[in-house]
Amino acid sequence: MASIGLHDSELGEVQRRLAVLRIGLLLVVALLAFRLWHLQIREGPYYRDLSENNRTRSVTLEPARGLIYDRQGVLLANNVPSFSLYVALEDVKDREALINALTNLIGLDPAVVQKKLTGRGGKQLPRKIKDRLTLREATLIESHRLDLPGVMIQVESQRNYPGGVTAAHLLGYVGEVSAEQLEKPEYADLHQGSIVGQYGVEKFFDRHVRGLAGLKSVEVDALGHEKRTVVVDQPQAGNDLYLTVDVRLQALAEKLLGEESGAIVALDPTNGDILAMASRPAFDPNVLSRELTPKQWVEIVQDEGRPLNNRASQGQYPPGSTFKILMAAAALESKTVSPSSTVQCTGGYQFGKRVYRDWKAGGHGSVNLHQALVHSCDVYFYTVGQRMGIDTIASYAHQFGLGEETGVELPSERVGIVPSTEWKQRAKHEPWLPGETISASIGQGYVTVTPLQMASLIGTVANDGVMYRPRLVQGIMDRTTSQLQQLPSTPKRKLQVRSQALELIQDALAGVVQEGTGTRAKSSIVTIAGKTGTAQTAALRTGPEKDIPKRFRDHAWFVAFAPVESPKIAVAVLAEHMGHGGSAAAPLAKELIELYAKLSPQMPALTAMLESGAAVSVAEVVTR
């Protein structure tokens, strides 16, 4: 029964064939073992690396930017926590689906997201897609996180300017480092999405303020969810800046300009500390530090008032009669005139076929230098200008810091124009015409200056000819060592003008306010010296000022210093299209100087201020 179907020969054959099976089995197992040896031993380290990369993600920890304080310790720029949206490219399985999901959830522009995902930058570091998410957006994303592999919400510090538009131009704003910036060596250690200063002090001192990014290694699972932190290299906060600016003066200067375009610069002539630097119209750095849509950006850039232009350091205007200060110094020093020599002013100056008129019809009569400055006699300066020649004027203008950078710590400072025969040949490829010297003598024609240059100029005159580089930052607090590095003020040069000449000019400038064109700046609490200026913007002038369309009206200038006996503040006011300096600009300078006079006894040194630890909020100051 058991032998059904059994044939011994066949069974034997089956069992002989088993030998083949044995050999085959050993062969195949040997091949498997070889393959595994290849994977685990020969290529083991390679796969070990891959498995490490698989499980770890690097997350950049953005540093907190340094804080910015005014000279009183009022906080002007700080950081507030905000949610940022990142995407780790490695974990994204379906890019299109992700973009769609983000568009649907929080309404991002698909094109923008696509650009951010494909932009330049390492594959290892997650890309920042959006910052300043609202709490609602962040919650929406968190609740859909399982459907959004690779998406991360990171809490970061976001730049905040508590004062809003206050001191906007000098503080500047921050923004993502651009592709062009990343090419430059000073941004070499940054990456796409890093926040850097893009304007003002934020940009100029970015190296100090930006801090050092940290790196966090996190272990993630296959869906990109963080499991635990492997290594943390903590970010290093940026250093704090202490400005020379007093936000109380700054706020007043901005308030004085109001809705008008213009600039006010106030500085301490004895060390170059800029106490206020206002430019109007202004922008809100909080808005610009956010990510703007292209449309918003175009709106700001194309705004006719050009709010992004810092008129104090970048606006170039004819100095008008304020130029007469340096003309007087040049005439005395070059011995073109003596203090007592006079010029007969009949209300006009004949040159060739043309008559150059004085602002005062009928003239000032016989005037010496003092009187010429006090009453701003044009004919006097036409005459001495013509005698000196343009190149002598130019050399003095350069000495007084015109046509060159003041060296203030702001990006893209403009220098204006100091015309000369050589300049005209170079710039216009034409020879200098003698009549042009006459216009230049009263600060018209080709001459242009910035309000900052004029503040520095009047300050230098007030400071007996010692010129300091204007500065905005007096100290940097190192966050790692808590050491305050006080920056020294830097003397730039000593004018080659005798002190008697400067004293005469100071005296005349005091006369301008006492009895001359600048009486509107006369104060009952402080002695002020100054010079008015009216910069013509259009050659054609018919009828009274008020009938001229505003954009063709003259710019009003007033430069001043106070107190006359020992000057502590120098001010330059420029009000665009506001007409006469004496009426439009002088009162502004007076108000600012009066506030300074009230405040100056309570202006402690930086170190004393830090020790007292007194801090006031900027909102309090601005509304005061």
Binding site: V28, A33, L39, R55
Partner: protein, 373 residues
């Protein structure tokens, strides 16, 4: 008669070695399943505990297949085959869909996979056929067995279950080569080419573009690797390679612990083991499998009759095929087809079926001398 039907003799040294190997491999499997699923959350019995239940049920199956005379078992081959064909048809209509394929019949909280059992039943059918039918000529040797196998194969491929289908085919091919073919030369050549197929495949497969592979795989097995792009294959290679010589230790396998490796407790349990125990562990495991198969070959070689020899050979070939293809697949030598690693992958049907097969194998050995009672 009783001791003809029920084997009641004591166990010998061979049996102990055989059973020890089986349970050693099973334990390694449970350990690996535990490691990869130990942080499993949610309700239900943990995977490793369920696997222990399967092993207990498998032990019952092992004992049943061991104590019943295999001749009696073989006589049930045809009815069993009819039943399993019906079940395979039921799966297609009523089955539970998972990973895009219908392979399971739900039984309470569990799922029963008929295709696993179909493999063992096919071995019984073919062994029974070859031992009963007088074999004269090509028709009876090759074509008729082929026709017997075909309905099962088609039903399995329809699910689709490429892995089980290939195993099914491999059982048929192996039986054919060992007994069906007269020409030794042909048999040897075919056998070798089958064994060298993995390497030929690697060259062929490697020369294709990714999208071509995806199309082929999508055609033959749409259920597998839905994410596509070779993600599973790569993660498995990384897991194995990262184990290096000594492995990352228990729970140390980041590939499996962090779920980069899919199906770590089922088809890719070998990768989990390789990542945690390294090349040394892998060599040890291969030696255990080879030793088990070596003992099985011993049984086949000493079988007292053709039925016993054929059953043994069928079971050995099925085991070898699954072990080689599974490891080859996890190591990136083959495309990924869903074949579990015998005795190690988590799964009730496969564990019970494999243990039943090994019971039958030991049955053949233990009946070696019963003829002469």
């Amino acid at each position: 008669m009783i001791d003809r039907m029920m084997d009641t003799r004591g166990v010998d040294n061979f049996d102990i070695r055989f059973i020890a190997l089986v349970f050693l491999i099973l334990s390694i499997g449970v350990l690996s399943i535990f490691s990869v699923t130990h942080d499993q959350t949610g309700p239900g019995i943990p995977f490793f505990a369920k696997q222990i239940i399967w092993i207990l049920l498998g032990t019952v199956a092992f004992l049943i297949m061991l104590v019943w005379d295999y001749h009696r078992i073989a006589r049930l081959a045809y009815p069993a085959y009819v039943i399993i064909l019906v079940l395979l048809a039921v799966v297609l209509v009523e089955g539970k869909t998972s990973r895009g394929a219908q392979r399971w019949i739900p039984i309470g909280p569990f799922a029963f996979q008929p295709s696993e059992f179909a493999k063992l039943i096919l071995i019984l059918v073919l062994a029974h056929y070859y031992s009963k039918v007088p074999r004269v000529g090509w028709l009876q040797r090759v074509v008729v067995p082929g026709l017997l196998m075909l309905p099962g194969l088609l039903l399995i491929l329809k699910q689709p279950d490429l892995g089980s289908g290939l195993s099914f085919l491999a059982v048929y091919a192996a039986m054919l080569l060992i007994v069906g073919m007269r020409s030794q030369a042909l048999g040897v050549i075919l056998l070798f080419s089958l064994m060298l197929f993995p390497f030929a495949w690697e060259v062929m497969w490697g020369s294709l573009h990714d999208y071509q592979r995806q199309r082929i795989m999508a055609f033959v097995d749409p259920a597998y690797d839905p994410g596509g792009k070779g993600y599973h294959a790569l993660q498995s290679r990384i897991a194995i390679g990262a184990g290096e010589l000594f492995g990352k230790g228990l729970y140390g396998g980041t590939q499996s612990q962090l779920k980069f490796l899919p199906e770590g407790h089922t088809d890719f349990v070998f990768s989990v083991f390789a990542e945690e125990w390294g090349f040394l562990g892998v060599l040890g495991l291969l030696i255990l499998f080879v030793a088990l198969i070596w003992l099985s070959l011993e049984i086949a070689a000493k079988a007292k009759d053709q039925l016993g020899a054929l059953l043994a050979v069928g079971i050995i070939c099925m085991l070898c095929f699954c072990v080689v293809v599974n490891i080859g697949m996890t190591a990136g030598m083959f495309p990924i087809v869903g074949i579990p690693l015998p005795l190690m992958s988590y799964g009730g049907s496969a564990t019970i079926m494999t243990m039943a097969s090994l019971g039958l194998l030991l049955n053949v050995k233990r009946r070696r001398l019963s003829l002469f009672y």
